[in-house]
Every structure is written in structure tokens, then in C-alpha cells.
Amino acid sequence: MNKNGTPLVEMRDISISFGGIKAVDHVTVDLYPGEVVGLLGHNGAGKSTLIKCLSGAYRPDSGDIFINGQKAVIENPRDARSFNIETIYQTLALADNLDAASNLFLGRELVGAGGFLNDAEMEAETRKIMGRLNPNFRKFNVPVSALSGGQRQSVAIARAVYFNAKILIMDEPTAALGPHETQMVAELIQELKKQGLGIFLIEHDIHAVMELCDRAVVMKNGQRVGTVNVNEVTDDDILGMIILGKKPPQAY
């Protein structure tokens, strides 16, 4: 990981409020290639709202976003995708009435001659990537409403990693997963990191954070408490930041 160059992503002084509630209050974070940055904080701290400004779901009231040092205008999810930003949303954002392949390719369908959907090709590709991410997955021809929480989550993950993301946002990607599947996601994160992706990871399990993240950004009431290099602190230091908003000396 090279932290001397320009960051892959820099979100500078981002603020957004909803009807008087400052959901994100002057927050600055950055992310380098090959780095995993954890976003931590209680429920309602503003983590999801912050990353939605990067994924194009929300437009911040103020603040700027830079991608590779260039100011980026992200007004909608299409813009974010054009910067190779992929997102696994906390809500998964799946169309329940469509099958796995249709969800995976939603908005980016494979089309063949005459502009007609190539469903067979999409299903084949979906079978391929699901074979890698979740080999037990069988339910290719049913709406995703018929899937278990873990299966749905693996579809959402597959969608984010299929399209060669450079920047990956994972909002509680393991919330619905069992221990075995969680382990698989951890391995996936390590692998993607090796490929040079930058990953924002929102995660509640402090052990997973210690294991997977290079840096951790802690938020509380919409504000950034501090940022730490994970290998310089203990998990108690981080918990102290989350719960008490107490900044250890190593934090900046």
C-alpha cells in the first residue's frame, strides 16, 4: 500500500442533513489503492449516509469528492458506477421479484443482436461468479424473494465484485451471514485488496475490523471522532472511540 501518492478517494468536509438532523457533519475521509478502511460507530452515527454520498444515492449539502486527485461530480448512482465505484448496500438493494442474474446485471444488462437481453449469457455468468463466492448457491431461476438472508447477501456481493470495481463500498456485508460465509467474505476482501482495490468497510464486529482493516474511521453523531492506523491501537482503544468518543493519542 502506497500512502505517499494521491489517494484513490478523498471525501473532503462532507455534510448532509435531513430535516434538521445533521446526519453527516463536516467529515473528511480518504482511501488508498489496496487499502481497507473501516467505518465504525453506533447505529445512527452516519456511516451509511456518508458512503451513500460516494455511491451517488445522496448528494451532500456541502463538501467535495476527489477520485485519483480529480474533483468528481457524483450526482446519481450512474455517475458513481462510471468511476468504478461499486456498493453493497446495507439494505442490499435487490429487486425481490427478479432472479439472481437479473439483479446482478440490473442497469448493466448484457444485450445481444437487436438490443435484446441475453438472459442465457447473464445466467451463465451468474453461475460462474456464484460458483466462486457461494458454491452452495442453486436458486438461479427463482425471484430473490425466495432466497435466505445469506443467499440474498451473496447476490449483492456478487453484483459488487463482478464489474471490476476499483472502489468498493461494503455496508455491513456480513450482517445476514453465518460464520462460514462470513469467513468467505473475509477471504474475498483480502483477495480484492491484493488486486489493488480500495475498500470502505462498515462493520460492527471489532475482531473483523482488527483483522481486515488497515485504518479505521470512527464516527459519532454525524461527526468524525478520529482515524487510527489499526496496527497502532488495541481494540479497546477503538471501542473507547466508538462508545465514549475518546480519541487516543495515536489518532488523527
Binding site: 446519481n76 442490499l92 429487486a95 421479484n97 442497469g107
Partner: protein, 439 residues
């Protein structure tokens, strides 16, 4: 590999023969239920007529042919309503927009164009149709824009539209009836000359059967090429036989309905044919409005199943937020969907006014209810995300069959409305039960 074996679907021993048949042919039970209901309605009316009135008039070529023509207008619009309802909207204005569009077309072809082009100029009907389609599409797009970009609920926008467009239609012609429409235009509404005749029907029959077979063969090939599960062969043959049999039966029915005597002698006189002793048997064949509806249904089915547009319609219905987050421009989609509804309403206005050979102030009144009912009876869920074109067409046939059947056996308008209302509520209730069970 992770696939199920190709034959597994038909070999499950725990299923009864009927369930096994349905599973292998992939006919969904819902479609079967709708067809069953339609057949029951037909037979019911026929028997009622035969027993009570001593005259079973329903299952006759004449009535079935008329039914096909009468269904077209509502059926065409129901195809568009499916998309509207799938995306969790509603359009209460289609009847009024139909009336308004028909009035515009009537004025264009009766009051305006003959002055410039001369009466009977072949451009008249073409221009009138184009104007109608354009006006319908523009009105629909405007409704959609109000819904999508101004955030006004579709219920309100189109409720307003229901009043506005009916009123506007009245103002356009100061309440007058505009007739007669252009002679060529009138053919689009059916009638003895607005049908393709026996030979034309047989040609269409052959083309339809060939297309069905080609689709089944190429579909099977594609599944095989990707190693996806296949239907058992006997199921393929059964499906092919059923589909082609249906087309064949329809052809036989419309060919069995002859022109009335008056039209025949008129036609014979005009073409210097001597009518033989027993009269001349000239078949109607498929009526043009029916063919328009079928063409619309096929095009819309392809669009819904095989294009991005259709996929996005379902996605928006299933989860509007997810669709937006997937980069779909859901607002623009809403405008397009309402515009398409408007286009189909314009098309329907052509058929309806051509059938009457006039544009009247009441044309299309209450159509919105029949159209919505057709879509809903056809399995379009008001909760969004679910619905099919073929279902809406079947629903339109059900609604029209009820209406026609009650007229045939002499129920008056009050009872007709009561029955149609009850059927609508019942259909939605059955749908809710069905979905609960399916979960």
C-alpha cells in the same frame, strides 16, 4: 456442476399426474385458472341462453367474432395498464383520453383534411391515425412528467385527467358527434370489410403455427447450448400441439362466420358476381382490430421479457429504490411508461372510433375501469412488480365476455354493472389468496 439434471423436473415421484404435467410443461397454474374461468363463463352463458331462453347464442361463430372485435379496444389499453400498475401507479384517465383523441382524429379527418386533400384521399386516414397516436402519446408523457418530476401521485394526476380530457373533448366539437369517418379509417374498426377473409386467415394461421414451432425449437436449442435444464420432449410436443391447436380453432371459428346476405349482394353487385341459389358463403376471417390487439400483445410481450425497458419496468415495481441505486433513471422510465400508455390509448381510440364510424362525446366512458379490471383480473398485482401481457389480454376477454354474455341473455345495464363490480373485487381477492398460498 451445480445444475439440476434435465429430467429431474418430470420424474419427481411424490407429485400427482396433474402436478407433474404442469411442472414439466411449465404452464403456470394461474394461467390455467384464467383460461378455465373464461371457458366456464362462455359455456355458462351458452347453456343459460339455451336452457332459459331456448337459444344458446354465445358459442356461435358470430358471437365469438364480435367478442374478438369488442375486446380489442380494452385489450390494447390493458397491455399498457399492466406496465403502469407494475410500477405501482394507476391511470384513471384512459377512457377520457381515448374520447379526446378520437375527437381530435374525427375533426382532423372530417372537418379539416377533406378541404385540403379532397374527400377519400388515402392520406387522410394515415394522417388522422398519426395525429391520434401523437396526441395520445403527448398526453401520456405529460401525465408521466407530472407524476415523475413534479411528484404528484398518479391517482390524482389521472383523476384530474379523467375530468379534463372528457371536458376538452366536449369543447373541441361543442358536443357534436363527428361522422362519418374516412372509409379506409373505418376498416380499422372491423366489420365485414375490416377483416382479412378466409384466405388471409389461413395464411396468418400458418405463419402463427410456424412461428410457435420455431420459437420452441430455438428456445430448446439455446437452453441446451448453455446446459440449462430442458423440458421433457413429450411436454414440448404437448405445448406445441396445444398452442397450434388454439390458433387453428380460432381460424376455423372466424372462417365459419359468413358475411350477412345484404353485404354479399352489395359486394356481388359491385363486382359483377352472380349470387348462386343457396347464397354465397364469404367468410369474415380475422377482424383487423383483433389483429392489431394481437400484434400489440406480441410486441409488448417481447418488450417486457427481452428488452432492458421491460426489465426496468419489473425492477422498478419490485423495488423502486434498488432500481434507482442500480443506475436506472426511474423518473424518465415513468414518463416513458405513461407515454406508452398514451400511445396505446391513441391506438385504441382509432379502433374504437373506427368501429363506430364516428367520434362521440361519450366514447370510451368507463373504459378506465374495464382496462384496470382486465389488467388486475389478468394477475397484475396492485402491490407492484408482477404482471403479464397475456394475462391482461385474457382479463380483457373475461370482462368483455361478461358484458357481451349478459347482453345476450338480456340482463339490463344495472345488473351488468353489479356483476362486473363483484367480479373485479372477487378477482383481486382470489389473487391475494393465491399469493398467500404461493409464499
Amino acid at each position: 456442476m451445480t445444475q439440476t439434471s434435465p429430467t429431474q423436473s418430470s420424474a419427481d415421484p411424490t407429485l400427482g399426474p396433474v402436478a407433474r404435467f404442469l411442472k414439466a410443461t411449465e404452464i403456470d397454474t394461474r394461467l390455467l385458472g384464467m383460461v378455465g374461468a373464461l371457458v366456464a363463463i362462455w359455456i355458462g352463458f351458452h347453456l343459460y341462453g339455451a336452457i332459459v331462453n331456448g337459444n344458446g347464442a354465445f358459442l356461435t361463430p358470430r358471437n365469438l367474432w364480435n367478442l374478438s372485435v369488442q375486446t380489442a379496444s380494452v385489450g390494447i389499453m390493458a397491455c399498457g395498464m399492466v406496465l403502469i400498475i407494475i410500477t405501482r401507479h394507476i391511470d384513471l384517465s384512459v377512457g377520457s383520453v381515448l374520447g379526446f383523441t378520437a375527437m381530435v382524429m374525427g375533426i382532423v379527418q372530417v372537418w379539416i383534411l377533406p378541404d385540403y386533400l379532397g374527400l377519400g384521399n388515402p392520406l387522410i386516414w394515415v394522417i388522422a391515425c398519426l395525429v391520434g397516436l401523437l396526441v395520445g402519446t403527448a398526453i401520456g408523457a405529460f401525465h408521466g412528467w407530472l407524476v415523475a418530476y413534479r411528484g404528484i401521485p398518479a391517482f390524482i394526476v389521472t383523476l384530474g385527467g379523467l375530468l379534463v380530457w372528457r371536458g376538452a373533448a366536449f369543447l373541441l366539437a361543442r358536443g357534436e358527434t363527428i361522422s362519418p369517418v374516412d372509409a379506409t379509417f373505418a376498416l380499422l374498426g372491423g366489420g365485414p370489410f375490416g377483416a382479412v377473409g378466409a384466405v388471409g386467415s389461413w395464411i396468418l394461421c400458418v405463419i402463427a403455427c410456424a412461428s410457435i414451432l420455431w420459437m420452441m425449437v430455438s428456445g430448446r436449442k439455446a437452453r441446451k447450448a448453455h446446459g440449462f435444464p430442458l423440458r421433457p420432449l413429450w411436454a414440448e410436443y404437448t405445448l406445441a400441439g396445444l398452442s397450434c391447436g388454439l390458433v387453428l380453432a380460432a381460424t376455423l371459428v372466424v372462417d365459419a362466420y359468413p358475411w350477412p346476405k345484404g353485404i354479399v349482394s352489395q359486394y356481388a353487385a359491385a363486382n359483377n358476381i352472380t349470387v348462386p341459389e343457396g347464397g354465397l358463403f364469404i367468410s369474415h376471417g380475422f377482424a383487423i382490430p383483433l389483429l392489431i390487439m394481437v400484434a400489440v400483445a406480441i410486441a409488448m410481450t417481447v418488450m417486457m421479457g427481452r428488452t432492458r425497458f421491460g426489465r426496468y419496468v419489473y425492477a422498478i415495481g419490485g423495488n423502486p429504490d434498488a432500481a434507482e441505486l442500480s443506475g436506472i433513471n426511474t423518473r424518465l422510465m415513468t414518463v416513458k411508461i405513461f407515454a406508452l400508455m398514451g400511445f396505446l390509448t391513441g391506438l385504441s381510440a382509432i379502433v374504437a372510433s373506427a368501429r363506430q364510424t364516428s367520434a362521440t362525446i361519450s366514447l370510451g366512458q368507463l373504459d378506465e375501469l374495464y382496462v384496470i379490471a382486465a389488467a388486475v383480473i389478468g394477475g397484475t398485482s396492485l402491490a407492484g412488480g408482477v404482471g403479464t401481457i397475456y394475462g391482461a389480454i385474457l382479463g380483457a376477454f373475461v370482462m368483455q365476455s361478461l358484458k357481451t354474455g349478459m347482453v345476450l341473455i338480456g340482463f339490463d345495464a344495472a345488473i351488468q354493472n353489479i356483476v362486473v363490480g363483484i367480479v373485479l373485487v372477487l378477482a383481486v381477492y382470489v389473487d391475494i389468496l393465491y399469493r398467500k398460498r404461493a409464499k
